[in-house]
């Protein structure tokens, strides 16, 4: 190739690139065929493109999920399509900031498919990190995913860009060898009474350090408020500052702070969800705030007694979930979409439910997909899903800060 040809080619590329990018505002590196793909044409269009890309880079923010991805999805995906998956476990907070920085610098994303915290959308979206492609409308395996897990996620309209692939549930965990069903608190008042009569036997994860504690705090706030106050707690449209101002100053939350003022006289605050479970495993606590999926992980690793069981308090406890998305500047967008589609497949959804108590967002998923052995460690049908309430993590975080200011800093 002579210099003139090279110059002409480079000039053509320079001219062509912006027009291509303009035509595909969703994903920077999407070809025109990929940008025009529909659910019906998905496999015909995406599979060849993905194979041509040859590689997909995946980030996983959830430490306990590494085996699930590798054994349940990635090996099978590589064998099925011959596409290499470069997998990395990341710390979600750091990876979020990395992607935001990369996006601001206009560089290519280091990751193509990112399994991120469900509550991270408000952090990632304003910087344009999340590719504006409606996965919910395009991916075949998302056809049966409920709208609340792909269109309006935790009250935020995500336009199908941030679908929830793994659902989890906060709960009350207890050692049934220590706490009988008759003594088991059924609501928030009963839990306070139990904790008062059994000092340091109720372990509560500090809300600032773990979602089960934050979820418990938010659930208690819903329990002790009514009318406009309760509606305000479930208002997802407010800014972080608005939420913090409300949590700190609104008098309608007084019953909530009264509750925690009393509860924390007898409860044991812990440094994280694992810390709470370890305390129960060490027989130093009998009841604690937990995540359903984490409990199963601990049970499988023999880090909790076989007698450990779960329940939900009346008026409900927070359910949440984590999402998959394609970053705007992903280098392998077709392979990323194919991988995400596989993650929503029935086979993998059943696998993660069986191994991780990871609930499925698909409405055609039922309990028969899970063994009887696993079912005994899950939330019983009597309380789940009827007592599961959606999370509002920005508000839960604001309440956690207010708890610090109003209760903890005065102790």
């Amino acid at each position: 190739m002579n210099r003139l040809t090279a110059f002409a080619l480079a000039t053509t590329c320079l001219i062509a690139t912006p027009s291509l990018a303009d035509a595909q505002p969703g994903l920077k590196h999407a070809s025109p065929e990929l940008a025009a793909v529909t659910r019906d044409t998905f496999y015909d269009v995406v599979v060849p493109l993905a194979k041509a890309e040859g590689t997909v880079v995946m980030y996983n923010f959830a430490g306990s999920f590494a085996d699930t991805w590798n054994e349940g999805l990635l090996k099978r995906f590589e064998a099925k399509y011959g596409i290499k998956v470069v997998y990395s476990d990341v710390k979600g907070d750091q990876a979020d900031q990395q992607l935001i920085a990369v996006q601001k610098a206009g560089q290519d994303s280091p990751v193509d498919a990112y399994f991120a915290g469900g509550g991270d959308y408000p952090i990632l979206a304003p910087s344009g990190v999340i590719g504006n492609v409606n996965l919910g409308a395009i991916l075949p395996n998302l056809a049966t995913v409920q709208s609340q897990f792909k269109d309006v996620v935790f009250g935020v309209d995500v336009h199908g860009t941030y679908p929830i692939v793994h659902r989890n549930q906060t709960a009350i965990g207890y050692d049934s060898a220590v706490v009988s069903d008759a003594d088991l608190p059924k609501d928030f008042d009963a839990l306070l009474a139990w904790s008062t009569s059994h000092p340091h036997q109720f372990a509560m994860t500090l809300p600032a350090k773990g979602g089960s504690g934050g979820g418990f705090l938010f659930s208690a706030a819903l329990n002790y408020t009514t009318g406009d106050c309760r509606a305000r707690l479930l208002d997802y449209s407010k800014t972080k500052d608005d939420n913090e101002d409300f949590a700190l100053n609104d008098t309608c939350l007084t019953p909530v702070w009264d509750y925690f003022g009393k509860l924390l006289d007898s409860a044991e605050l812990t440094n994280g969800n694992a810390d709470t479970l370890n305390l129960i495993n060490n027989k130093q606590a009998a009841i604690g705030t937990v995540w359903e999926d984490q409990v199963l992980t601990f049970l499988r690793a023999k880090q909790l007694p076989e007698s450990f069981r779960l329940t939900l308090l009346k008026n409900g406890q927070v359910g949440s979930g984590d999402a998959f998305f394609v970053p705007t500047n992903a280098v392998h967008p077709a392979a990323a979409m194919l991988l995400i589609n596989e993650a929503f497949g029935m086979e993998f959804q059943a696998y993660k439910m069986e191994t991780k108590a990871s609930r499925s967002p698909r409405n055609d998923f039922d309990a028969t997909k899970v063994s009887a052995e696993t079912r005994k460690y899950l939330l019983p049908d009597a309380v789940y899903p009827s007592l599961s309430v959606p999370a509002n993590w920005p508000m839960a975080n604001a309440l956690a800060k207010a708890l610090d200011e109003k209760i903890l800093s005065k102790r």
Partner: protein, 285 residues
């Protein structure tokens, strides 16, 4: 090049450039960015503000966090200092197995803080390894993890920092000429008096250096207080990571600057102390 010799300042600057440039690029720019960020001057809409500092010094929560950081900075250093001086003095003597001990006591230096925290959780947590050992005897360990006095944090930090401080202090004592020690003894000073009035002052620069570095390390440490410390109040280092998780970078920078300010204050105190020692030495001659 001949021209450069006529401009010694320029020549000096060019000679220093590789080293100083490296420091400026790796430490200076990030520090400057953090400083600007703490005043709201970094980001999409930069605007000068003191609100991040105001939060630290007006919020009851953050003021308690600052106090906790200072507590976690000072107390482990005091405990480590006492133990390190004792260990350094012991290592001067000959005893059976001294060589082996001299190697073994340095092991904690190679162990990351997070492993030390997990070690503490496994061993001295209520219901942990030692508690289970004591159970048949009807005994129970006091609460040392998540306790309000931070005993677990102090124990873990001390264990981690003891070898470093001992190494530095051993070196400081070893640098004192034997003649001076002998002279003091010849002039009638007992061993304790010789230690307190002669050896300790002469070793002070080394000791203060060790104290300074361990203080900075323990005040800014994250893993140990995060896993072993009381959930309330949290030290600033833990709050800083929380702020980072929320994308509140202004607050992250401000907390970082406050922690750095304390480190710099200790650094200045170190120079003041050691220069006084130097002056005192000069006077005595």
């Amino acid at each position: 090049m001949i021209g450069l010799h006529r401009r010694p300042r320029l020549e000096l600057a060019l000679l220093l450039l590789p080293g100083a440039g490296f420091l400026i690029a790796l430490f200076g720019f990030p520090l400057l960015t953090a400083l600007l960020g703490s005043f709201g001057l970094v980001g999409d809409d930069p605007a000068l503000t003191l609100k991040f500092y105001a939060r630290i010094f007006t919020s009851a929560v953050l003021l308690r966090s600052l106090a906790t950081s200072l507590y976690y900075g000072v107390v482990p250093v005091v405990v480590t200092l006492v133990l390190a001086i004792g260990l350094a003095l012991a290592l001067r003597r000959h005893f059976a197995g001294r060589k082996l001990f001299n190697g073994l006591y340095k092991i904690p230096m190679a162990v990351p803080g997070i492993i030390v925290a997990l070690l503490v959780l496994t061993l001295i947590e209520q219901g942990g390894f030692f508690d289970r050992l004591l159970l048949p005897l009807g005994l129970k360990l006091p609460k040392m993890v998540r306790d309000p006095w931070g005993i677990g944090v102090i124990a873990a930090t001390t264990w981690k920092q003891l070898p470093f401080m001992t190494l530095v202090i051993t070196g400081a004592f070893a640098a004192i000429p034997e003649d001076i020690r002998q002279a003091a003894r010849t002039l009638g000073a007992g061993s304790i008096r010789t230690f307190l009035r002669v050896e300790l002052p002469l070793a002070l620069p080394g000791i203060t250096a060790a104290v300074l570095l361990t203080f900075i390390g323990s005040m800014g440490s994250f893993a140990i207080p995060d896993l072993v410390g009381a959930p309330n109040p949290l030290p600033l280092s833990v709050r800083m990571v929380r702020a980072f998780a929320e994308g509140d970078m202004g607050q992250v920078f401000a907390i970082g600057m406050v922690l750095s300010a304390f480190a710099f204050a200790v650094l200045i105190a170190y120079y003041a102390l050691t220069s006084n020692v130097g002056a005192a030495k000069g006077d005595s001659r």
